[in-house]
Amino acid sequence: MSETSTHPRPGVSDPPWLRNILIVLAVTYLVLVVLLPFVSVLTQALARGFSTYGRALADPAGRSAILLTLLVAAIVVPLNTIFGVWLALGVARTRQRLRRLLETLVDLPFSVSPVVAGLLFVLLFGRHGWFDPWLTAHGIHIIFAVPGLVLATLFVTLPFVARELIPLLESQGLEEEEAAALLGASRWRIFWRITLPNIKWALLYGVILCNARAMGEFGAVSVVSGHIRGRTNTLPLHVETLFNDYDFTAANAMASLLAALGVVTLIARAITEWQIAHTRRNRESDSGLDSFAYGKTP
């Protein structure tokens, strides 16, 4: 409990003057590195008035970039939500040795540079790639097309949901599921009525992170996209294209959309985090409440 205490403990905490300096330094750093660029994106985007902003967003290439980003997220997020839950259940409920291996696999996309991830898909599905003959024979385009964007994004955002759920499932244990099974519930019912309600906030948190990354991913997507304006440019890629064309207002307008997504994500994160902390607190109070004497029923 002492970690959550707001009172600094003597002997561990720094003297007040040092603490103040550290706080000022930390705040300055945050302002310089995070807040200032963020505000500048918004001001630059609005610098030439709302009409320019509106025009930038109404531009067909811009609109198609927005729609493409939404499309990719709409495919990737549900898939990685379902597989993330599945993976997490698998990892949390397998035996120790196998679990390590699975966990490492789940973490792989985090440890690989997104550019490398993109290249992997080009090597597999691109020209002279492993599957190229078969794909060409069947007239299927993956690289420089939407399927490639989806695959690259799937790869990069795979760990988010699973990573959120694994520690929670491990700490919750299996007893509630066992109890439900002994009460005669089917596996399906156990999942929907017991497992899912117990992980819903962590799941939502993972989905939010997954979505933010799916919409904001640049590196992996950049490699497989081919930057075809109006066809394979996602929002982040479109920002870069505009920037390279010295169209700073439009670039900033597009970037401000991503920034707004960031703000929404942040708020949603705060809410879900609060909920997770709340349920955890309740669970901790589960143990050792016995002083409410048994038998005092009205």
């Binding site: 007893e175 509630e176 066992e178 109890a179 439900a180 099974a181 002994l182 009460l183 005669g184 519930a185 089917s186 019912r189 009525r193 017991i194 309600p197 117990n198 309740n282 669970r283 109070s285 589960d286 143990s287 050792g288 409440l289 016995d290 002083s291 409410f292 004497a293 048994y294 038998g295 029923t297 009205p298």
Partner: protein, 344 residues
């Protein structure tokens, strides 16, 4: 015969958790599986429930082999040590879960579910708390909800894992009397796991003492207490003094502290000891003596006796056993000794 357990074996890694356990449980009985932690009692309970599978051996439940039977078909009510209540559901919905989980064709109508759950809420005296969530209840209340939830499916067998383990001492005593009473009312065959010998002796019709994956003794409480079959059982069911070889012709003599007589005069089969401490708190006075080989023994005597003896630390007194147990030989395998509190 409601449960027949035949030669169950179970290994985890390299250790035998259950090394061939056989046991018969009669319909309507209340049986305690008693033993120190790690003796395999919880694993045995989980195997009977179907939550674990045995490596070999079988469990027959009401003349049906349970192998391959689904958990639903076993109709086992299980109360977990930490209750495992569904934390996002109300008390009412927790109890109704088993009824609502039935396949549609034999699910009772809503009105019947309501009345059955309400009857169970009355049984556990929590009618007014039906809309609360588990985290709003005390430990003893949660325990009763867990019991009602298990009873809702009308189980043929009720299994309880350390049912009172997570409760305060006082709540525990009240709740086990309550459970004893409910068992008398309902007559469900019940098996519970405990490491507390007092609990087992007070609540159960029969006690199964386990140690190191084996059953040491099965019997009614009075019999197991009065005639412990092995040194382990003797030590596990309350304090015992282990006296060195004597006129009784055995290697060791096991005597309970209250079955020793203290006197100032030497007796034919008594041994002498030097009083090291006297504590007169509690219903009986507790006298500790040092005997030969620097071994300590404990004697419980009535306060009056202690007063008559005028014993003070340093006095030499004689100790004579009234009743004792001897065993042919101390089994070498008896490594999992009971906690130090039991052995003196």
């Amino acid at each position: 015969m409601s449960i027949g357990i035949h030669n169950i074996r179970k290994r985890f890694g390299t250790s035998d958790v259950l090394a061939g356990v056989s046991l018969q449980i009669r319909t309507g009985e209340l049986v305690a599986l008693l033993g120190p932690s790690g003796c395999g009692k919880t694993t045995l309970l989980r195997i009977i429930a179907g939550l674990e599978t045995a490596d070999s051996g079988s469990v027959v439940c009401y003349d049906q082999d349970t192998r391959g039977q689904s958990l639903r078909d076993r109709r086992v009510g299980f109360v977990f040590q930490h209750y495992a209540l569904f934390r996002h559901l109300t008390v009412f919905e927790n109890i109704a879960f088993g009824l609502r989980a039935r396949p549609r064709h034999n699910r009772p109508p809503e009105a019947e579910i309501q009345s059955r759950v309400n009857r169970l809420l009355d049984l556990i005296q929590l009618r007014a708390q039906g809309n609360r969530h588990p985290d709003q209840l005390s430990g003893g209340q949660r325990q009763r909800v867990a019991l009602a939830r298990a009873l809702a499916i009308e189980p043929r067998v009720l299994l309880l894992d350390e049912p009172f383990g997570a409760l305060d001492a006082q709540v525990r005593v009240e709740l086990r009397r309550w459970l004893r009473q409910r068992h008398a009312d309902l007559g469900v065959t019940t098996l519970f796991v405990t490491h507390d010998q007092e609990e087992a002796l007070e609540v159960a019709d029969r006690i199964v003492v386990m140690n190191g994956g084996r059953i040491e003794q099965v019997g009614v409480p009075a019999e197991v207490y009065a005639h412990p079959a092995t040194p382990f059982v003797c030590r596990f069911l309350g304090s015992v003094n282990v006296l060195p070889a004597s006129a009784h012709g055995s290697s060791k003599v096991y005597v309970r502290p209250h079955e020793l007589i203290l006197s100032r005069q030497a007796t034919s089969d008594g041994i002498s000891g030097c009083v090291t401490s006297i504590s007169s708190a509690g219903p009986l006075a507790r006298v500790e003596l040092e005997i030969a080989n620097a071994e300590h023994i404990e004697v419980l005597v009535a306060h009056d006796t202690a007063t008559e003896l005028h014993a003070v630390p340093g006095d030499a007194l004689f100790v004579t056993p009234k009743r004792w147990h001897t065993y042919e030989e101390e089994p070498a395998s008896e490594t999992a000794s009971p906690t130090d509190a039991w052995a003196i």
